[in-house]
Amino acid sequence: MSDEHYLELCDNPVQFENASSVNNVFFDEANKQVFAVRSGGATGVVVKGPDDKNSVAFRMDDKGEVKCIKFSIGNKILAVQRTSKSVVFPDKRSVKLLKSQSINVNWYQYCPETAVILLSTTVQGNVLQPFAFRSGTMSKMSKFEIELPVVPKPAKLSLSERDIAMATIYGQLYVMYLKHHSRTANSPSAEVVLYHLPREGACKKSHVLKLNTTGKFALNIVDNLVVVHHQSSQTSLIFDIRLREPDCAVNTHQPVLPARSIHPYRIPLSGPTVVPSQPAVPCQLYSSSWSVFQPDIIISASEGYLWYLQVKLPPTVNLLQDKGKLMDFLLRRRDCKMVILSVCSQILEGGEKGSLPVVATVFDKLNQVYKEYLEAEQTYTLAMESGPSRGSAAQKRPVRTQAVIDQSDMYTHVLSAFTERKGVSHKFIIAVLMEYIRSLNQFQITVQHYLYELVIKTLVQHNLFYMLHQFLQYHVLSDSKPLVRATPQPRLSTANDEIVEVLLSKQQVLGALRFIRSVGGHDNVSARKFLDAAQQTGDQMLFYTVFRFFQQRNQRLRGNPAFNPGEHCEEHVVHFKQLFGEQALMKPATV
């Protein structure tokens, strides 16, 4: 088994001085900054953010234990909290009360991405009241109740803030509730319940993720996947709420992949700046000193590291046997293109029985996404052409994600190499190419010319001219825009000419000759075109063969092997004489 770890810690973590008796560490989720406060600030505060390589360092007077410390956006204002009821701004500033709400609150959670705060209310704490902050105003959203596994009697605080997290998944805000198993209630294992929190309207329970185990868990969101870390088994699970489970009730999800641990991580002995030859020690994963923040942050305060969690797609390919499901999964991931293309190559490589239906399913899934993008693009173009309309909001140009795998991607990375590969039956090659063309047609996507060329080349290489004719007859190998439709006559001739051009441009001179002979057109084709192509290949025997072919044609048609002046083949005759000598030329037959 090769590498199966589909989760990993980023390799450029934010490093800070580890937490100790003299050094307190704080993390600000809004700015994603780590504050290392030494001796209450007297011997230094070091702030490290995610992008800024230059950390901020300053000193401040030790006025007691710091409970919380944060910067405003842009590091303009520093706020320090030392007591439970006061916040100090090092610069003198005035604060104005804009709006107040009076609610009994057990605890709160804030989601900086969406600027929504969630308050736990009531005695049991399971009635959640969200507020949204937008352009200086605070608006109350509709409150909702989390279903508790057991209702305690007498009532007491039963919903912990550790079991609630907020995150954006596929552009929507969800409240995630880690519902532990309970011996009394009929729930043998833990699950994560997602509540969809729309901007307008009521919050609804929308998804249930089955964890199939019990114990301590932590949640992350990476690339729209819900990652559930399980401490005792030191493994993680991933869920994709858009993947439908055929054998499950709607919106109940099983893990996409079997549980695996995060990829082993090694910490260089003397920090990340030293030479790579320095020995490294393995980092203890799933350590109890880890803190997990949304969406994808893992902090080890004891070791002084902040990592971003990442999904590695290549290992998923071998873990998910159902290729259709695998495609559904990959198509929703951010950096999916190369992995998808490698999966395509892989299923074509196998060539095992029954792979064609799988190939068809995969192509259909790719083309579905491709088509949606083309349509969005077209709608956008049309909207732009008709000018900005007053009624509708300005159209946004559709984003081309990596999941849009177009014909040129398929050609370059998959099909072209596949058709060249030794040991693959031509039957299978043609079947695959036709399946791709079928799928494109099914989604009404105009097929690019180079795909037809690939089919034509393969057919000609194996002398399958009759198949080629049949495809032409049913317009399978033609542009969707009809060329000449007045009568069937010019229609087919045009296609023949095109095929000859294609073959000549691929240096398939003999193939082109064989093809044109099979359609009975060799008496009328331009000899010069073929001789040019043959000469260009630099293959002397090929040139000889083609030259001889046309001499024989001339003999048959005109009783003389010489070329007519109108054919403009003088230079080829000279070339032929140079290569093979005057005597090699065919002499006119004497009757």
């Binding site: 029985k353 064609l356 036709m434 079928r438 049949q470 009568t487 069937p488 359609v519």
Partner: protein, 480 residues
């Protein structure tokens, strides 16, 4: 053996006789070169009850004619001999093997008064060499499809085996020759293609590829709908003769029971819930029958320089028929047939109804009931595509045409003219019966149109044909 069908002609008392087969024989001059051994040359002779010496005489005569005419053109020996009463056709399909067909000319029997015997008038110019020459070549091709070459039988079992095979094959085959209804279509020996949109066509491709992938024994597949070809994995010449066999022999034989069973529900005995209409036209009639035999006809197809022997499985669901060809060296079992039935049956049934639906949609788009108002025959030499609105559906016994034989003769004559030159040509003929007949030859295609416009002049007819080409021929084959 008599196939004379008298039909009443113009005069009340006149009787008209259509062309009929007088004799058909196969010989090889090298088998009895010495005097007294002439009988050894004869490999097959129809009718068989002809006296031995007469057989020898007739064969000898043909031999002499061929030898004699060779002196004028060594590369092209005589192809036919015209006499007042009959016409003989010669064909040498393999070295020294000659097939001869003697056709009695059509004739009119005019009764005489006073009890005298009736006068017979032979219409020796009414039949065309091209038509019957083609029929003769087709006889050989059909033999070869099911038996391989004469040479192959000789290698396997000498003259004895060859004569056995010839006897077995031609005894039945000659009964199915209907010389009176042979015409231009026999010259072409074309294939009628089913008009189909690209998407449905691609679905069929997909079906064929998948079946060939999961039943890896299948070497070639052909797909037909409504007795028209959609896909052939066989080479063109093999498909041409197989198509002829399917459409004039196998399908008509099975069309009766199918029509009768149209109202019956889906086959209830099918295992599982995959109901389908699929059934074998060759091989086992009923898979459930414990006595069922899994024997299929064998056919021979060309492969590079040799030939290849194949089992021919023809499987049909509703109007869709798939021919699967499997190397004859493999023995086909019940398990294989069941596997094929369960795999192909449901898919083919679905595909058949898809094609039917798509075809109806396309026809509605292209105009309601826009059956061409004119009669034509189209043929493309390159892909052998033919289309005729003159011929009614072919049945096992006869092919019906909707026009008078005189007009068919004119079409044949024009075709002969076209065959003489390479250039594109157009011929317009005003027939005796007020019909106009137009023949066009362009590149590799030929089109024959019959117009019934009594008062039209040449210019108007020319315009009309131009108009028809523009409106009808842009989608004569393709509806997409």
């Amino acid at each position: 053996m008599l196939m004379i069908s008298p039909r009443m002609a113009t005069g009340m008392q006149e009787k008209q006789y259509t062309p009929s087969l007088l004799s058909f024989f196969i010989y090889n001059p090298s088998f009895g070169p010495r005097e007294g051994e002439e009988e050894k040359k004869i490999l097959f002779y129809h009718p068989c009850d002809v006296e031995k010496n007469e057989k020898i005489r007739n064969v000898g005569l043909c031999e002499a004619i061929v030898q004699f005419t060779r002196t004028f053109c060594p590369t092209k020996p005589a192809k036919s001999l015209h006499t007042q009463k009959n016409r003989q056709f010669f064909f040498e399909p393999e070295d020294n093997f000659w097939i001869v067909m003697v056709v009695r000319n059509p004739m009119i029997e005019k009764p005489n008064k006073d009890g005298k015997p009736p006068t017979i008038e032979y219409q020796e110019e009414e039949i065309l060499d091209t038509v019957y020459g083609a029929v003769l070549r087709q006889c050989y091709s059909m033999y070869k499809l099911f038996n391989g070459t004469f040479g192959r039988a000789m290698e396997a079992g000498g003259v004895e085996l060859l004569t056995q095979k010839l006897e077995k094959f031609f005894y039945r085959y000659l009964q199915t020759l209907h010389l009176q209804s042979c015409d231009l279509l026999d010259v072409f020996g074309g294939i009628s293609f089913f008009p189909l949109d690209k998407m449905t066509y691609l679905k069929i491709q997909s079906f064929v590829n998948r079946v060939e992938e999961s039943l890896s024994l299948v070497k070639y597949t052909a797909f037909l709908y409504n007795d028209q070809l959609i896909w052939s994995g066989l080479e063109q010449d093999d498909m041409r003769i197989l198509y002829k066999y399917l459409t004039t022999s196998l399908f008509p034989r099975h069309s009766e029971p199918e029509l009768a069973g149209r109202d019956s529900p889906l086959r209830p005995e099918v295992a599982g819930n995959l109901l389908h209409y699929g059934r074998f036209l060759t091989g086992p009639a009923n898979l459930k029958d414990p006595e069922a035999k899994f024997r299929f006809p064998k056919i021979f197809v060309n492969k590079e320089d040799s030939y290849e022997e194949l089992h021919l499985i023809v499987y049909k669901a509703m109007s869709a028929a798939a021919c699967f060809m499997i190397s004859a060296s493999v023995e086909l079992t019940r398990e294989f047939c069941e596997q094929l039935d369960s795999l192909v049956g449901p898919q083919l049934t679905l595909l058949a109804s898809d094609i039917c639906e798509q075809f109806n949609i396309n026809r509605r788009i292209s105009g309601p009931d826009k059956e061409p108002q004119f009669k034509f025959i189209y043929f493309n030499h390159m892909n052998l595509a033919e289309k005729s609105t003159i011929h009614m559906r072919k049945t096992a016994s006869v092919s019906l045409t909707s026009v008078h034989p005189d007009l068919m003769k004119i079409l044949g004559d024009i075709n002969c003219d076209f065959a003489r030159v390479d250039e594109d040509e157009e011929i317009i003929v005003k027939a005796m019966t007020d019909y106009w007949v137009v023949g066009k030859k362009s590149d590799q295609r030929e089109l024959y149109v019959i117009l019934n416009q009594k008062n039209a002049n040449l210019i108007e007819v020319n315009e009309e044909v131009k108009r028809l080409c523009a409106t009808q021929f842009n989608n004569i084959f393709f509806l997409d």
